[in-house]
Amino acid sequence: MAARPHEGEVWPCDAEPGSPGYRKGQSVTNAGCRNGVHRRRRGALAGLAMTAAALSLSGSCDAFNPAFVDLVAPGLGGSFSTLNNAPGHVVISFVNNAEVDERLIGFLETSGGLTLTDAEKRALRPRVRFLVRVTYSTGISAEFEFVSGSVNFIDQRFDASVFPDLNQNDLNNVVVVCDLAAVEVLTSSIEVFVPVELRAYDLVDVAGPGGVPTQEFQLREQIPPQFRTLQIDQADAGGNVVLLSNIGLRDVPAPVLSPLCGSVVAITMTGALRVPFLETVDDRPSFDRQDAATVASIGGRYEFEVAIK
Protein backbone atom coordinates (compact mmCIF):
# COMPACT_ATOMS: atom_id res chain seq x y z
CA MET A 1 0.00 0.00 0.00
CA ALA A 2 1.45 3.36 -1.00
CA ALA A 3 2.37 5.80 1.73
CA ARG A 4 -0.20 8.42 2.32
CA PRO A 5 0.51 12.08 2.94
CA HIS A 6 0.20 13.29 6.48
CA GLU A 7 -1.59 16.36 7.70
CA GLY A 8 0.32 19.43 6.79
CA GLU A 9 2.66 17.77 4.32
CA VAL A 10 2.85 19.08 0.84
CA TRP A 11 2.83 16.39 -1.84
CA PRO A 12 2.45 16.59 -5.59
CA CYS A 13 -0.72 15.25 -7.13
CA ASP A 14 0.90 12.48 -9.05
CA ALA A 15 4.10 11.75 -7.20
CA GLU A 16 5.12 9.81 -4.15
CA PRO A 17 7.25 11.66 -1.61
CA GLY A 18 10.86 11.40 -2.44
CA SER A 19 10.21 10.56 -6.05
CA PRO A 20 11.73 12.56 -8.87
CA GLY A 21 8.38 14.08 -9.71
CA TYR A 22 7.97 15.56 -6.26
CA ARG A 23 7.66 19.30 -6.41
CA LYS A 24 7.45 21.60 -3.51
CA GLY A 25 4.33 23.72 -3.24
CA GLN A 26 1.73 21.27 -4.46
CA SER A 27 -0.59 19.32 -2.15
CA VAL A 28 -2.65 16.17 -2.42
CA THR A 29 -6.16 15.77 -1.24
CA ASN A 30 -8.73 13.05 -1.73
CA ALA A 31 -10.65 15.40 -3.96
CA GLY A 32 -7.72 16.03 -6.22
CA CYS A 33 -4.82 18.38 -6.42
CA ARG A 34 -5.07 21.71 -4.74
CA ASN A 35 -2.58 24.27 -3.67
CA GLY A 36 -2.31 24.51 0.06
CA VAL A 37 -1.90 22.31 3.04
CA HIS A 38 -2.94 18.70 2.69
CA ARG A 39 -6.35 18.01 4.04
CA ARG A 40 -6.57 14.20 4.04
CA ARG A 41 -7.60 13.83 7.68
CA ARG A 42 -10.11 16.64 7.50
CA GLY A 43 -11.46 15.25 4.25
CA ALA A 44 -11.90 11.85 5.81
CA LEU A 45 -13.77 13.33 8.71
CA ALA A 46 -15.96 15.34 6.40
CA GLY A 47 -16.60 12.18 4.44
CA LEU A 48 -17.61 10.39 7.61
CA ALA A 49 -20.03 13.18 8.49
CA MET A 50 -21.48 13.13 5.00
CA THR A 51 -21.81 9.37 5.13
CA ALA A 52 -23.54 9.60 8.46
CA ALA A 53 -25.85 12.28 7.09
CA ALA A 54 -26.62 10.10 4.10
CA LEU A 55 -27.31 7.16 6.36
CA SER A 56 -29.67 9.25 8.42
CA LEU A 57 -31.47 10.47 5.34
CA SER A 58 -31.96 6.90 4.25
CA GLY A 59 -33.60 6.13 7.58
CA SER A 60 -30.73 4.16 9.08
CA CYS A 61 -29.92 6.16 12.19
CA ASP A 62 -28.21 3.19 13.72
CA ALA A 63 -24.87 4.81 13.16
CA PHE A 64 -25.80 7.38 15.80
CA ASN A 65 -27.89 5.24 18.10
CA PRO A 66 -26.96 1.62 17.98
CA ALA A 67 -28.81 0.65 21.20
CA PHE A 68 -31.53 -2.00 20.94
CA VAL A 69 -33.52 -3.90 23.49
CA ASP A 70 -32.72 -7.58 23.50
CA LEU A 71 -35.74 -9.77 24.01
CA VAL A 72 -35.51 -13.38 25.02
CA ALA A 73 -37.95 -15.82 23.46
CA PRO A 74 -39.21 -18.24 26.09
CA GLY A 75 -40.58 -21.70 25.56
CA LEU A 76 -39.09 -24.26 23.25
CA GLY A 77 -35.37 -24.40 22.94
CA GLY A 78 -34.64 -20.81 23.76
CA SER A 79 -33.19 -18.53 21.19
CA PHE A 80 -32.24 -14.94 21.01
CA SER A 81 -34.11 -12.66 18.66
CA THR A 82 -34.49 -8.94 18.76
CA LEU A 83 -37.32 -6.62 18.11
CA ASN A 84 -36.99 -2.89 17.87
CA ASN A 85 -38.36 -0.86 20.73
CA ALA A 86 -41.85 0.40 20.14
CA PRO A 87 -41.90 4.14 19.55
CA GLY A 88 -44.39 4.53 22.36
CA HIS A 89 -48.02 3.74 22.91
CA VAL A 90 -51.38 5.40 23.12
CA VAL A 91 -53.98 3.60 25.20
CA ILE A 92 -57.57 3.95 24.01
CA SER A 93 -59.87 3.06 26.85
CA PHE A 94 -63.63 2.69 27.22
CA VAL A 95 -65.30 2.86 30.61
CA ASN A 96 -68.94 1.86 30.74
CA ASN A 97 -70.54 3.65 33.68
CA ALA A 98 -74.10 3.37 32.37
CA GLU A 99 -76.81 1.81 34.52
CA VAL A 100 -79.98 -0.19 33.94
CA ASP A 101 -83.36 1.25 34.76
CA GLU A 102 -84.81 -0.34 37.88
CA ARG A 103 -88.17 -0.98 36.27
CA LEU A 104 -86.46 -3.00 33.58
CA ILE A 105 -84.51 -4.99 36.17
CA GLY A 106 -87.73 -5.61 38.05
CA PHE A 107 -89.46 -6.87 34.94
CA LEU A 108 -86.60 -9.23 34.12
CA GLU A 109 -86.59 -10.61 37.64
CA THR A 110 -90.33 -11.15 37.85
CA SER A 111 -91.19 -12.15 34.29
CA GLY A 112 -87.87 -12.67 32.57
CA GLY A 113 -86.60 -15.47 34.73
CA LEU A 114 -83.46 -13.60 35.70
CA THR A 115 -82.01 -14.06 39.15
CA LEU A 116 -79.58 -11.42 40.28
CA THR A 117 -77.71 -11.09 43.53
CA ASP A 118 -77.34 -7.69 45.15
CA ALA A 119 -73.74 -7.56 44.02
CA GLU A 120 -74.72 -8.42 40.48
CA LYS A 121 -77.39 -5.72 40.48
CA ARG A 122 -74.84 -3.14 41.61
CA ALA A 123 -72.45 -4.22 38.89
CA LEU A 124 -75.10 -4.39 36.17
CA ARG A 125 -74.25 -2.46 33.03
CA PRO A 126 -75.96 -2.38 29.64
CA ARG A 127 -74.15 -4.25 26.89
CA VAL A 128 -72.71 -1.64 24.55
CA ARG A 129 -70.60 -1.88 21.43
CA PHE A 130 -69.19 0.67 19.00
CA LEU A 131 -66.37 1.19 16.57
CA VAL A 132 -63.35 3.38 17.16
CA ARG A 133 -61.32 4.49 14.17
CA VAL A 134 -57.63 5.14 14.73
CA THR A 135 -55.80 7.11 12.07
CA TYR A 136 -52.03 7.05 12.18
CA SER A 137 -49.83 9.93 11.16
CA THR A 138 -48.86 7.91 8.09
CA GLY A 139 -52.46 8.04 6.86
CA ILE A 140 -53.25 4.41 7.58
CA SER A 141 -56.36 3.79 9.64
CA ALA A 142 -57.71 0.86 11.59
CA GLU A 143 -61.00 0.23 13.35
CA PHE A 144 -61.56 -1.56 16.61
CA GLU A 145 -64.86 -2.69 18.06
CA PHE A 146 -65.20 -2.02 21.76
CA VAL A 147 -67.65 -4.23 23.64
CA SER A 148 -68.50 -3.79 27.29
CA GLY A 149 -71.32 -4.53 29.69
CA SER A 150 -72.93 -7.34 31.61
CA VAL A 151 -72.85 -10.64 29.80
CA ASN A 152 -75.90 -12.88 29.45
CA PHE A 153 -78.15 -10.05 30.65
CA ILE A 154 -81.24 -11.06 28.73
CA ASP A 155 -84.78 -12.27 29.22
CA GLN A 156 -84.25 -15.94 29.95
CA ARG A 157 -86.99 -16.92 27.54
CA PHE A 158 -84.52 -16.09 24.77
CA ASP A 159 -81.29 -17.89 24.00
CA ALA A 160 -78.25 -15.74 24.81
CA SER A 161 -75.99 -17.88 22.64
CA VAL A 162 -77.76 -16.53 19.56
CA PHE A 163 -76.07 -13.19 20.21
CA PRO A 164 -72.28 -13.70 20.13
CA ASP A 165 -71.54 -10.17 21.27
CA LEU A 166 -73.64 -10.78 24.34
CA ASN A 167 -71.38 -13.40 25.83
CA GLN A 168 -67.99 -12.77 24.28
CA ASN A 169 -65.30 -11.16 26.35
CA ASP A 170 -65.14 -7.43 26.69
CA LEU A 171 -62.74 -5.32 24.73
CA ASN A 172 -62.44 -2.11 26.67
CA ASN A 173 -58.92 -1.04 25.86
CA VAL A 174 -56.62 -1.10 22.87
CA VAL A 175 -52.94 -0.17 22.85
CA VAL A 176 -51.65 1.28 19.59
CA VAL A 177 -48.21 2.53 18.68
CA CYS A 178 -47.42 6.16 18.03
CA ASP A 179 -47.84 8.47 16.24
CA LEU A 180 -51.54 9.03 15.80
CA ALA A 181 -53.38 11.64 13.77
CA ALA A 182 -56.85 11.01 15.16
CA VAL A 183 -58.96 8.81 17.38
CA GLU A 184 -62.70 8.98 16.83
CA VAL A 185 -65.76 7.06 17.88
CA LEU A 186 -67.96 6.29 14.90
CA THR A 187 -71.19 7.64 16.34
CA SER A 188 -73.36 5.80 13.86
CA SER A 189 -71.99 2.50 15.19
CA ILE A 190 -72.94 2.94 18.86
CA GLU A 191 -75.36 0.19 19.83
CA VAL A 192 -76.91 -0.98 23.08
CA PHE A 193 -78.43 -4.38 23.62
CA VAL A 194 -82.11 -4.27 24.53
CA PRO A 195 -82.51 -7.45 26.59
CA VAL A 196 -86.26 -7.83 26.35
CA GLU A 197 -88.88 -8.29 23.69
CA LEU A 198 -90.57 -5.04 22.71
CA ARG A 199 -94.22 -5.16 21.76
CA ALA A 200 -95.26 -2.51 19.27
CA TYR A 201 -98.86 -1.31 19.16
CA ASP A 202 -100.91 0.84 16.84
CA LEU A 203 -103.89 2.86 17.94
CA VAL A 204 -106.61 1.93 15.51
CA ASP A 205 -110.28 2.80 15.01
CA VAL A 206 -112.64 -0.01 15.77
CA ALA A 207 -116.35 -0.37 16.15
CA GLY A 208 -117.26 -0.41 19.78
CA PRO A 209 -120.36 -1.69 21.53
CA GLY A 210 -123.47 -0.67 19.70
CA GLY A 211 -121.45 0.29 16.66
CA VAL A 212 -120.02 3.32 18.35
CA PRO A 213 -116.60 3.98 16.84
CA THR A 214 -113.78 3.86 19.30
CA GLN A 215 -110.05 3.39 19.41
CA GLU A 216 -107.96 0.65 20.84
CA PHE A 217 -104.36 -0.45 20.79
CA GLN A 218 -103.65 -3.49 18.68
CA LEU A 219 -100.44 -5.46 18.75
CA ARG A 220 -98.62 -5.10 15.47
CA GLU A 221 -95.07 -6.26 16.02
CA GLN A 222 -92.93 -8.15 18.49
CA ILE A 223 -89.29 -7.13 18.39
CA PRO A 224 -87.01 -9.73 19.96
CA PRO A 225 -84.00 -8.78 22.07
CA GLN A 226 -81.35 -7.24 19.86
CA PHE A 227 -78.67 -4.59 19.57
CA ARG A 228 -80.22 -1.23 18.80
CA THR A 229 -78.36 1.68 17.24
CA LEU A 230 -78.40 4.75 19.42
CA GLN A 231 -79.63 7.92 17.77
CA ILE A 232 -78.55 11.49 18.32
CA ASP A 233 -81.18 14.11 19.13
CA GLN A 234 -82.68 15.78 16.11
CA ALA A 235 -82.40 19.55 15.85
CA ASP A 236 -83.77 22.22 13.54
CA ALA A 237 -81.75 24.72 11.56
CA GLY A 238 -81.45 26.92 14.60
CA GLY A 239 -79.94 24.16 16.70
CA ASN A 240 -83.08 23.67 18.78
CA VAL A 241 -83.79 20.09 19.70
CA VAL A 242 -87.01 18.95 18.06
CA LEU A 243 -86.86 15.27 19.00
CA LEU A 244 -85.12 13.82 22.04
CA SER A 245 -83.50 10.52 21.29
CA ASN A 246 -80.66 8.55 22.91
CA ILE A 247 -77.68 10.95 22.86
CA GLY A 248 -77.80 14.71 23.32
CA LEU A 249 -76.20 17.01 20.79
CA ARG A 250 -73.58 18.04 23.31
CA ASP A 251 -73.02 14.53 24.60
CA VAL A 252 -71.73 13.00 21.39
CA PRO A 253 -68.19 11.57 21.73
CA ALA A 254 -65.77 14.10 20.31
CA PRO A 255 -62.84 13.06 18.10
CA VAL A 256 -59.32 13.43 19.43
CA LEU A 257 -56.83 14.95 17.02
CA SER A 258 -53.12 14.19 17.23
CA PRO A 259 -53.03 12.69 20.71
CA LEU A 260 -49.57 12.94 22.20
CA CYS A 261 -47.52 9.80 22.25
CA GLY A 262 -47.82 8.18 25.64
CA SER A 263 -51.24 9.56 26.42
CA VAL A 264 -54.44 7.78 27.34
CA VAL A 265 -57.62 8.50 25.37
CA ALA A 266 -60.43 7.77 27.80
CA ILE A 267 -63.98 7.34 26.49
CA THR A 268 -66.52 7.31 29.30
CA MET A 269 -70.20 6.51 28.90
CA THR A 270 -72.88 7.31 31.44
CA GLY A 271 -76.64 7.12 31.33
CA ALA A 272 -79.23 4.39 31.70
CA LEU A 273 -80.76 1.63 29.65
CA ARG A 274 -84.54 2.06 29.53
CA VAL A 275 -87.41 0.55 27.65
CA PRO A 276 -90.96 1.94 27.38
CA PHE A 277 -94.06 0.43 28.95
CA LEU A 278 -97.39 1.24 27.40
CA GLU A 279 -99.37 1.84 30.54
CA THR A 280 -102.87 0.33 30.89
CA VAL A 281 -102.28 -1.67 27.73
CA ASP A 282 -99.49 -4.08 28.45
CA ASP A 283 -97.41 -4.81 31.53
CA ARG A 284 -94.54 -5.93 29.33
CA PRO A 285 -92.14 -3.57 27.55
CA SER A 286 -94.28 -1.99 24.85
CA PHE A 287 -94.87 1.23 22.95
CA ASP A 288 -97.15 3.06 20.55
CA ARG A 289 -95.52 3.04 17.14
CA GLN A 290 -97.10 6.39 16.35
CA ASP A 291 -95.57 8.04 19.37
CA ALA A 292 -92.39 9.38 17.79
CA ALA A 293 -90.93 10.63 21.04
CA THR A 294 -91.26 7.24 22.72
CA VAL A 295 -89.91 5.40 19.72
CA ALA A 296 -86.89 7.71 19.60
CA SER A 297 -86.11 7.10 23.25
CA ILE A 298 -86.09 3.30 23.11
CA GLY A 299 -82.79 2.08 24.46
CA GLY A 300 -82.31 4.81 27.02
CA ARG A 301 -80.37 8.03 27.17
CA TYR A 302 -76.61 8.33 27.36
CA GLU A 303 -73.75 10.81 27.58
CA PHE A 304 -70.24 10.36 26.27
CA GLU A 305 -67.12 12.10 27.48
CA VAL A 306 -63.76 11.82 25.78
CA ALA A 307 -60.73 12.93 27.74
CA ILE A 308 -56.99 12.73 27.26
CA LYS A 309 -54.89 11.75 30.25
Partner: protein, 226 residues
Protein backbone atom coordinates in the same frame (compact mmCIF):
# COMPACT_ATOMS: atom_id res chain seq x y z
CA UNK B 1 -11.65 33.29 10.97
CA UNK B 2 -9.81 32.09 7.86
CA UNK B 3 -11.74 31.02 4.82
CA UNK B 4 -10.57 27.46 5.35
CA UNK B 5 -11.81 27.47 8.86
CA UNK B 6 -15.11 28.92 7.77
CA UNK B 7 -15.51 26.17 5.21
CA UNK B 8 -14.79 23.60 7.88
CA UNK B 9 -17.36 25.02 10.24
CA UNK B 10 -19.90 25.27 7.46
CA UNK B 11 -19.23 21.69 6.39
CA UNK B 12 -19.64 20.31 9.89
CA UNK B 13 -22.75 22.34 10.51
CA UNK B 14 -24.31 21.25 7.25
CA UNK B 15 -23.48 17.61 7.89
CA UNK B 16 -24.86 17.74 11.41
CA UNK B 17 -28.02 19.52 10.28
CA UNK B 18 -28.54 16.93 7.57
CA UNK B 19 -28.11 14.16 10.09
CA UNK B 20 -30.54 15.68 12.53
CA UNK B 21 -33.16 16.47 9.92
CA UNK B 22 -32.68 13.16 8.20
CA UNK B 23 -33.07 11.28 11.43
CA UNK B 24 -36.23 13.30 11.97
CA UNK B 25 -36.78 11.44 15.20
CA UNK B 26 -34.05 13.27 16.95
CA UNK B 27 -36.80 15.81 17.56
CA UNK B 28 -39.54 13.21 17.64
CA UNK B 29 -39.56 11.44 21.00
CA UNK B 30 -41.33 8.44 19.50
CA UNK B 31 -38.46 7.90 17.11
CA UNK B 32 -35.90 8.38 19.85
CA UNK B 33 -37.73 5.83 21.95
CA UNK B 34 -37.37 3.27 19.19
CA UNK B 35 -33.61 3.35 19.30
CA UNK B 36 -32.65 4.62 22.72
CA UNK B 37 -35.70 4.31 24.94
CA UNK B 38 -36.40 6.40 27.98
CA UNK B 39 -39.07 8.56 26.35
CA UNK B 40 -42.12 6.37 26.88
CA UNK B 41 -42.65 3.12 28.75
CA UNK B 42 -42.52 -0.14 26.88
CA UNK B 43 -43.97 -2.20 29.70
CA UNK B 44 -46.68 -1.51 32.25
CA UNK B 45 -44.29 -2.32 35.06
CA UNK B 46 -42.84 -1.53 37.37
CA UNK B 47 -45.46 1.15 38.12
CA UNK B 48 -48.69 -0.31 36.75
CA UNK B 49 -50.38 -3.66 37.35
CA UNK B 50 -51.15 -4.88 33.87
CA UNK B 51 -49.87 -7.45 31.48
CA UNK B 52 -49.56 -5.85 28.06
CA UNK B 53 -50.09 -8.34 25.28
CA UNK B 54 -49.01 -7.02 21.91
CA UNK B 55 -49.40 -8.70 18.56
CA UNK B 56 -47.09 -7.91 15.70
CA UNK B 57 -48.13 -8.86 12.19
CA UNK B 58 -45.25 -9.18 9.75
CA UNK B 59 -46.94 -11.49 7.29
CA UNK B 60 -47.86 -8.81 4.80
CA UNK B 61 -51.57 -9.55 5.04
CA UNK B 62 -54.41 -8.97 7.43
CA UNK B 63 -54.10 -11.14 10.55
CA UNK B 64 -56.46 -11.72 13.43
CA UNK B 65 -54.67 -12.90 16.54
CA UNK B 66 -56.76 -14.90 18.96
CA UNK B 67 -55.28 -14.02 22.32
CA UNK B 68 -56.38 -15.92 25.39
CA UNK B 69 -55.43 -15.41 28.98
CA UNK B 70 -56.30 -17.48 31.99
CA UNK B 71 -56.63 -15.90 35.38
CA UNK B 72 -57.84 -17.07 38.72
CA UNK B 73 -61.17 -15.46 39.42
CA UNK B 74 -62.19 -14.88 43.00
CA UNK B 75 -65.38 -16.72 43.93
CA UNK B 76 -67.75 -14.28 45.61
CA UNK B 77 -70.93 -14.65 47.60
CA UNK B 78 -74.23 -12.91 46.92
CA UNK B 79 -72.99 -9.76 48.59
CA UNK B 80 -69.90 -9.65 46.44
CA UNK B 81 -67.51 -10.62 49.21
CA UNK B 82 -64.73 -13.12 48.57
CA UNK B 83 -65.27 -16.65 49.81
CA UNK B 84 -62.65 -18.45 51.88
CA UNK B 85 -61.87 -22.13 52.31
CA UNK B 86 -61.23 -23.97 55.56
CA UNK B 87 -57.59 -22.85 55.60
CA UNK B 88 -58.57 -19.23 55.21
CA UNK B 89 -57.43 -19.00 51.61
CA UNK B 90 -59.47 -17.10 49.09
CA UNK B 91 -61.41 -19.47 46.88
CA UNK B 92 -60.60 -18.99 43.21
CA UNK B 93 -61.45 -20.68 39.95
CA UNK B 94 -59.70 -20.45 36.59
CA UNK B 95 -61.36 -18.26 34.02
CA UNK B 96 -60.35 -17.67 30.46
CA UNK B 97 -60.74 -14.52 28.44
CA UNK B 98 -60.31 -14.46 24.70
CA UNK B 99 -59.67 -11.28 22.79
CA UNK B 100 -59.42 -11.09 19.02
CA UNK B 101 -56.98 -8.47 17.78
CA UNK B 102 -57.07 -7.57 14.12
CA UNK B 103 -53.65 -6.39 12.99
CA UNK B 104 -53.34 -4.70 9.64
CA UNK B 105 -50.79 -5.69 7.05
CA UNK B 106 -48.95 -2.37 7.09
CA UNK B 107 -47.03 -0.66 9.84
CA UNK B 108 -47.75 0.92 12.24
CA UNK B 109 -51.25 -0.57 12.24
CA UNK B 110 -49.69 -4.04 12.30
CA UNK B 111 -48.73 -3.64 15.95
CA UNK B 112 -51.58 -3.49 18.46
CA UNK B 113 -52.06 -4.62 22.01
CA UNK B 114 -54.43 -4.98 24.91
CA UNK B 115 -53.93 -4.54 28.63
CA UNK B 116 -55.06 -7.16 31.13
CA UNK B 117 -55.26 -6.03 34.76
CA UNK B 118 -53.35 -8.28 37.12
CA UNK B 119 -53.62 -6.47 40.44
CA UNK B 120 -56.69 -8.14 41.90
CA UNK B 121 -56.44 -11.49 40.16
CA UNK B 122 -53.20 -12.64 38.59
CA UNK B 123 -52.93 -13.60 34.95
CA UNK B 124 -51.53 -17.12 34.94
CA UNK B 125 -51.44 -18.09 31.29
CA UNK B 126 -51.09 -16.10 28.08
CA UNK B 127 -51.21 -17.66 24.68
CA UNK B 128 -52.83 -17.88 21.28
CA UNK B 129 -55.94 -19.90 20.50
CA UNK B 130 -59.26 -20.04 22.30
CA UNK B 131 -58.37 -23.02 24.43
CA UNK B 132 -54.59 -22.52 24.49
CA UNK B 133 -54.18 -25.86 22.74
CA UNK B 134 -51.66 -26.60 19.97
CA UNK B 135 -54.50 -27.57 17.67
CA UNK B 136 -56.35 -24.28 18.13
CA UNK B 137 -56.30 -21.63 15.48
CA UNK B 138 -53.89 -19.07 16.86
CA UNK B 139 -53.97 -16.58 14.02
CA UNK B 140 -56.49 -16.16 11.26
CA UNK B 141 -54.75 -14.91 8.18
CA UNK B 142 -56.02 -13.02 5.23
CA UNK B 143 -59.65 -12.78 6.26
CA UNK B 144 -61.48 -9.53 5.91
CA UNK B 145 -63.06 -9.66 9.33
CA UNK B 146 -66.78 -9.91 9.71
CA UNK B 147 -68.31 -10.58 6.33
CA UNK B 148 -64.94 -10.24 4.62
CA UNK B 149 -63.00 -12.50 2.35
CA UNK B 150 -62.19 -15.98 3.57
CA UNK B 151 -58.78 -16.63 5.05
CA UNK B 152 -57.15 -19.53 6.80
CA UNK B 153 -56.12 -20.39 10.31
CA UNK B 154 -52.60 -20.90 11.58
CA UNK B 155 -52.44 -23.34 14.49
CA UNK B 156 -50.35 -22.55 17.49
CA UNK B 157 -48.53 -25.84 17.24
CA UNK B 158 -45.06 -24.47 17.86
CA UNK B 159 -46.04 -21.85 20.38
CA UNK B 160 -46.63 -22.91 23.96
CA UNK B 161 -48.71 -20.70 26.20
CA UNK B 162 -46.62 -18.62 28.54
CA UNK B 163 -47.00 -19.45 32.20
CA UNK B 164 -46.61 -17.06 35.10
CA UNK B 165 -45.95 -19.83 37.57
CA UNK B 166 -43.18 -21.17 35.35
CA UNK B 167 -41.59 -17.76 35.31
CA UNK B 168 -42.23 -17.02 31.65
CA UNK B 169 -43.78 -13.67 32.50
CA UNK B 170 -45.00 -11.64 35.44
CA UNK B 171 -47.44 -8.87 36.15
CA UNK B 172 -46.01 -5.71 34.64
CA UNK B 173 -44.41 -7.42 31.66
CA UNK B 174 -45.08 -7.02 27.98
CA UNK B 175 -45.73 -10.19 26.03
CA UNK B 176 -45.38 -9.94 22.28
CA UNK B 177 -46.67 -12.45 19.76
CA UNK B 178 -45.24 -12.08 16.32
CA UNK B 179 -46.33 -13.69 13.07
CA UNK B 180 -43.75 -13.60 10.29
CA UNK B 181 -43.37 -15.19 6.93
CA UNK B 182 -41.38 -18.38 7.11
CA UNK B 183 -40.73 -21.14 4.62
CA UNK B 184 -41.57 -24.61 5.82
CA UNK B 185 -44.16 -23.54 8.35
CA UNK B 186 -47.88 -24.16 8.22
CA UNK B 187 -49.40 -21.52 5.99
CA UNK B 188 -45.92 -20.09 5.41
CA UNK B 189 -46.15 -18.28 8.72
CA UNK B 190 -44.10 -18.71 11.86
CA UNK B 191 -45.35 -17.67 15.27
CA UNK B 192 -42.99 -16.40 17.93
CA UNK B 193 -43.38 -15.10 21.44
CA UNK B 194 -41.27 -12.54 23.27
CA UNK B 195 -41.31 -11.13 26.76
CA UNK B 196 -40.10 -7.73 27.85
CA UNK B 197 -39.61 -7.71 31.61
CA UNK B 198 -41.20 -4.87 33.47
CA UNK B 199 -39.14 -5.05 36.64
CA UNK B 200 -35.93 -3.93 34.96
CA UNK B 201 -37.48 -1.14 32.93
CA UNK B 202 -37.05 2.47 34.04
CA UNK B 203 -39.84 4.07 36.02
CA UNK B 204 -39.11 7.65 35.04
CA UNK B 205 -39.57 8.84 31.48
CA UNK B 206 -39.16 12.04 29.57
CA UNK B 207 -42.71 11.59 28.25
CA UNK B 208 -45.92 10.57 30.00
CA UNK B 209 -45.96 7.31 31.93
CA UNK B 210 -48.73 5.81 29.83
CA UNK B 211 -49.73 2.75 31.79
CA UNK B 212 -49.50 4.40 35.18
CA UNK B 213 -51.77 7.15 33.84
CA UNK B 214 -54.21 4.52 32.65
CA UNK B 215 -54.25 2.75 35.99
CA UNK B 216 -54.82 6.01 37.85
CA UNK B 217 -57.68 6.83 35.51
CA UNK B 218 -59.33 3.45 36.13
CA UNK B 219 -58.95 3.83 39.87
CA UNK B 220 -60.71 7.17 39.68
CA UNK B 221 -63.78 5.61 38.03
CA UNK B 222 -66.03 4.83 40.96
CA UNK B 223 -69.77 4.73 40.42
CA UNK B 224 -72.08 6.43 42.88
CA UNK B 225 -73.39 3.15 44.20
CA UNK B 226 -69.98 1.63 44.81
Amino acid sequence: MSSGCKRRVFGWTAALALALVGCGGFFNPAFVNTFVGGEFPLTPGPGADFVLVRVLNETGQLAEFIVTIERLEIVRDDDGSAQFDDQGNVVTRPQRETTRLLAQATAPANDIGVLFPCDETPVNLVGLGENLLPSDTAVFLGGGGAGGATGFGIPGTTLNPLSRTAGNFACGDTVIFRAIRSVGQTGGVKLESFVLRGFNQPSIFNGPNTFVSYQQFLESQVREDE
